[in-house]
């Protein structure tokens, strides 16, 4: 039996995808690298010329870059943890049958469909606003001090908003994956006397390992470049409390109009992302190849 023989040339199957991605990656990357070595200020055409590694030097020596990298890691790490944990909980919960389950599941997954800008605006103005927001209304009604979310807990507030949006994503993927859980195996184990938690730990969780890895990888990509929520709520502040790398680049590119510096920061961001990805792969790689 020709079990491992390739009856199929995978080349033509892969070629279009690879081609498209190559183009969309190489061209911007090339431009960015080029600009990062130039002195290019969008508003001031007087500034031109080859800059060598000056852009990189200035960035790497400025503490602002490192603060933003740290913020990025904190944001990504927190949201990942929250979404995976709650995603698993919700997936297990919604796998059970209970009255109105379908409707409840729809409600739980709704936040993912909302535009990030809109989410941030709702949270900022309607909920967290210290004078007009719903939370402050409830606090006052309960006699508790009003929390000024974006001033006292800026990073926490941003994490809350982003997690609120992405938990449904994890839930959706994991709920779908739960559908392919081997029920017969579960029944057999239960017959053998295995209880709830043991069942979960030994059967459900391993089955979910690959979807969780996919969720983590995909979310990572998006969380590294969270931008809209910060722009709308805290503008990176107060101070630099919520400035992540993406916002830092934005400030450089569209406020200082320093395209050279922003490109250099972009290259640094890619390096950072690759490091994070490498780290994740090491942790999750085996899950991806499981059959």
């Amino acid at each position: 039996m020709a079990a491992r023989s390739r009856e199929l040339k995978t080349g033509p199957l892969l070629a279009p995808a690879v081609g498209v991605l190559l183009f969309w990656m190489i061209v911007p990357l090339a431009f960015t690298l080029w600009f990062s070595f130039q002195r290019y200020n969008l508003q001031n055409p007087m500034i031109t010329g080859f800059a060598g590694i000056t852009n990189y030097k200035i960035l790497l020596m400025s503490s602002r870059l490192w603060v933003s990298i740290l913020n990025t890691l904190v944001l990504v790490g927190s949201v990942l943890s929250l979404t995976v944990i709650f995603g698993i909980i919700f997936a297990v919960v919604f796998d059970q049958d209970f009255p109105g389950r379908n409707i409840a599941r729809l409600l739980v997954t709704a936040p993912f469909f909302i535009m990030p800008t809109v989410s941030a605006l709702i949270w900022k103005n309607l909920l967290m606003h210290p004078v007009n927001g719903f939370f402050s209304y409830v606090s006052r009604w309960l006699g508790l001090p009003v929390i000024d979310w974006f001033v006292q807990w800026p990073m926490f507030s941003v994490i809350m908003i982003v997690a609120w949006q992405w938990i449904p994503f994890a839930t959706l993927i994991l709920v779908t994956a739960m559908q392919s859980l081997d029920r017969e195996q579960m029944e057999a184990a239960r017959m053998d006397g295995a209880k709830g938690f043991a069942l979960f730990w030994n059967i459900t969780l391993p089955h979910l390992a690959r979807p969780i890895s996919v969720v983590v990888m995909i979310e990572c990509i998006f969380l590294l470049s969270v931008f809209a929520e910060i722009l709308v709520t805290t503008s990176g502040g107060p101070g630099m409390a919520t400035t992540n790398l993406s916002y830092f680049i934005y400030m450089r590119a569209l406020l200082q109009w320093d395209v050279g510096g922003a490109s250099a920061a972009g290259v640094i961001a890619i390096v950072l992302a690759n490091i994070v990805a490498a780290f994740l792969i090491r942790t999750f790689a085996k899950n991806l190849e499981r059959d």
Binding site: K124, G239, A241, R252, Q256
Partner: protein, 435 residues
């Protein structure tokens, strides 16, 4: 390709003559302020009379500025008419990115424009944008709250007096705050106000050699005063409060005083959105050691990028939208109080001044705001609440962020100012102003 197209079109236009001006579709980018929304509504009149069509791109101020700057600086050619302000106009005009607008004809009546407005939108003596509305800043106060407390606001208050009033008028348990001021970080948000405060304490952004002055005594005094005042008598969440948020607070009656744009007054006078319609009093922007630079100058103006291939049709529109007839049209449609303020002397009729209690103070503020002499001491720059150099947006916003951080209690004022100073020095060195 673009040049060929332009040649053909111009030739065609010449041959066919002006009565055959074919219908053009223009793309116009503007801010989502009330006055612009009115312009959008009324623009159908212009469309009808010229047969041209307008496609509108309406965005929030910061997004608009970035969008438009990206397009103009890369010569993207997306827009035929852009709405820009007093900061970009001189800079872009000098770089040749905008068409000159001195040729709109005598019936446009250039002499009717306030001189400070005209100068603010020119570079090297040529006008590069026509003013849609202009504003300065002043002090607004809630007359009901003041009367109840038995206090009287002088016509030219000082910041010290403002602080005294604020202390007496704050009752946080009743959500009444003595003073509401901008805290949101941004060169056009909190820094607009804080720069004024630095001005009247005798400070400047740069000395005559372009050295940043952010750690000088006037700046320290002004920013410390600002942070202390806001912490004691300001509303919570101040670092997220920009112009819009403060306006909402004042309109709901939460603020006893508010120092901000003169254009706010018109909106506070609208009973659909304001609970304090007949309770607003006006005074000049506060001074302290000096009164020079106590009110800013800002104008939203319409300009035509040099990449536009439809400059004639565009000029026809910008002429219409900033003409005396347009002002009258707005007055007819929405009431004289809604006239776009601050651009033309002819707007300030007796009727207008009677219907709008803020008109006179606004007129005075605009006439005295002189961007060419922003501070008491001589400086190498122009611009009262900002510095008209390309680098300012970045420097101003970073400084604004640091000061917001101080207001939020994350750093001390001295640290915030030192960091801002370091950042400014770095930026100015990179740009070549200082060695």
């Amino acid at each position: 390709m673009g040049i060929l197209k332009t040649c053909v079109l111009s030739f065609g236009a010449m041959v066919l003559g002006s009565q055959f001006a074919h219908a053009e579709t223009l793309t116009i980018a503007t801010v989502n302020n009330d006055d612009m929304i009115v312009m959008q509504k009324l623009s159908t009149e212009w469309e009808k009379s010229t047969g041209n069509k307008l496609n509108w791109v309406v965005l929030e101020e910061n997004v608009l500025r970035q969008r438009v700057t990206t397009d103009i600086a890369t010569k993207g050619g997306q827009f035929d008419i852009v709405t820009i302000g007093a900061l970009e106009t001189p800079i872009w005009g000098k770089q040749g990115w905008l068409n000159t607008l001195d040729d709109l004809g005598d019936d446009y009546d250039y002499a009717d424009l306030f001189p400070s407005v005209k100068n603010g939108l020119s570079a090297d003596g040529k006008m590069y944008a026509v003013p849609f509305y202009a504003e300065s800043s002043f002090t607004m106060y809630n007359t009901e709250i003041f009367e109840k407390a038995g206090l009287k606001m002088p016509e030219q208050p000082t910041w010290t007096q403002i602080a005294e009033f604020a202390d007496k008028l704050t009752d946080k348990s009743k959500e009444q705050y003595g003073i509401c001021l901008r805290g949101k970080p941004g060169w056009g948000e909190n820094m607009a106000l804080i720069t004024l405060m630095a001005n009247v304490w005798g400070g400047t952004w740069f000395d005559k050699d372009w050295q940043p002055q952010l750690t000088s005594e006037p700046w320290k005094k002004a920013v410390n005063f600002y942070v202390d005042l806001m912490k004691k008598d300001g509303p919570p969440g101040a670092t997220a409060n920009g112009f819009n948020e403060n306006q909402a607070l004042f309109a709901a009656g939460h603020c006893a005083m508010w120092v901000d744009a003169t254009s706010a007054a018109g909106r506070l006078y609208n009973k659909d959105t304001s609970k304090v319609v007949d309770k607003v009093g006006y005074a000049k922007g506060p001074g302290e050691v000096t009164n020079v630079g106590n009110g800013w100058f800002w104008a939203w103006a319409l300009a035509i990028p040099s990449t536009s291939t439809k400059a004639d049709a565009a000029k026809s529109f910008v002429k219409w939208a900033t003409s005396k007839d347009y002002v009258k049209l707005v007055a007819k449609e929405g009431g004289v109080v809604t006239s776009p303020p601050g651009t033309r002397k002819s707007t300030y009729t007796a009727e207008y001044k009677k219907a709008a209690p803020f008109a006179e103070m606004t007129e005075k503020a605009i006439e005295t705001a002189d961007p060419s002499k922003p501070t008491r001491d001589p400086v190498p720059y122009t611009g009262i609440s900002f510095v008209i150099i390309p680098e300012y947006q970045g420097i101003g916003t970073t400084t604004g962020q640091n000061i917001a951080g101080a207001l939020a209690g994350q750093t001390s004022v001295d640290d915030a100012l030192q960091q801002s100073q370091d950042n400014a020095v770095e930026a100015m060195t990179q740009a070549g102003y200082i060695k």
